[in-house]
Symmetry: C5
């Protein structure tokens, strides 16, 4: 999984039928220091993540292993909202 921050949302009314009702999030990738790396992905949302939240996202076939994405043409999914992480014994991030 990779770390990300939900930076925005995307709307697509014409799409593969099985995607009806799924939310698309613009997710900017974060490094272990909590800073943006420059990468991004458009991910479906499995956990009700809002703009600004720090999340984990899974890619590839693993992105289809949630209730909302199963058997759908989805290759990236937000599957967790991050509370906190630490590196080398130091807390890097804690959700407010």
């Amino acid at each position: 999984m990779l770390l990300g921050r939900v930076a925005g949302t995307l709307v697509a009314s014409r799409k593969e039928e099985s995607l009806e009702g799924l939310k698309f999030l613009v997710v900017r990738q974060l490094g272990t220091d909590g800073k943006e790396t420059g990468g991004f992905v458009i991910a479906n949302d499995a956990v009700g993540a809002g703009v600004g939240e720090v999340v984990l996202y899974a890619s590839g076939s693993s992105a289809r292993q949630t209730e909302v994405t199963r058997d759908r043409p989805c290759d990236a999914v937000v599957m967790a909202i991050v509370d906190t992480w630490e590196v080398e014994g130091e807390e890097v991030y804690r959700k407010e």
Copy 2:
């Protein structure tokens, strides 16, 4: 998923039989700012996207989760046409 713009089309008459009838699109990758990143992919089309349209495409096994690509040797599919997206509260793109 990644953002792209359909830049052209490709024709291949000699191909794996299961691909008969599928359309191949030349898709240039876009960043969250709507500008081209320099990357591209040749993707099958699941939504009737035309040249010039801004789209989402899925890669890998997820590209086979549409009605037209199932069980076919396809690793990239256009599965949505983008209406609009916003980042940090600003609208970046809106389909005309």
Copy 3:
């Protein structure tokens, strides 16, 4: 899928048994301008592509969705020979 040119062939007599009889091609990756990008892959051949031909190849699990590669340890397959493609309304390549 990505664009490539068949640049050569590879022979491996000692291999996983299920690969017996499959042809291995050295495929150089091409950009949308038809020029080599510097990347390459060793791909199995599902369409009888010869050295010098411009092709499409699929990667990952999608590379196993052809008759010759199914259930085999193959992560790249040439699944089409390209006739022509165009970008921004200009023909970039046409097979002679």
Copy 4:
């Protein structure tokens, strides 16, 4: 698989239900020389790896082939703790 060192841990209380009980590790990627490459991944733990340990991790659908990750939205798993490796006849690393 790739080499990594467990650099920390991550907590996410709101997540896809099937991930309940899984541990998330911050894993820094190592080169064959045992030095960090700058890359990282957030991986689930299938072997009880602790912070500081040198490990192997698998990515993609293969990350779901452990008892704890099967059918879950997990795209990276620590599936082994490394004892030692050698390159060109020289031992590079040995677990203390």
Copy 5:
């Protein structure tokens, strides 16, 4: 598939149970010119490859399509030992 040279071996006694008995190889990636590219992977061995041998390896789910790796958390496998390859009509490598 990609070209590699077996540069060493790795031992991991604590690992996912299904990996018991599998050999781990340190594989340095080669270019089509037979020179190292700087990349590497830790791959399981499906063909009895020894240190120094030039091999092909498959990645992702395709790495699980050999008898020894099936259903295991393995994302890279050496599935062939290379005899020879040629590029643009010139032989680049031949096994001695």
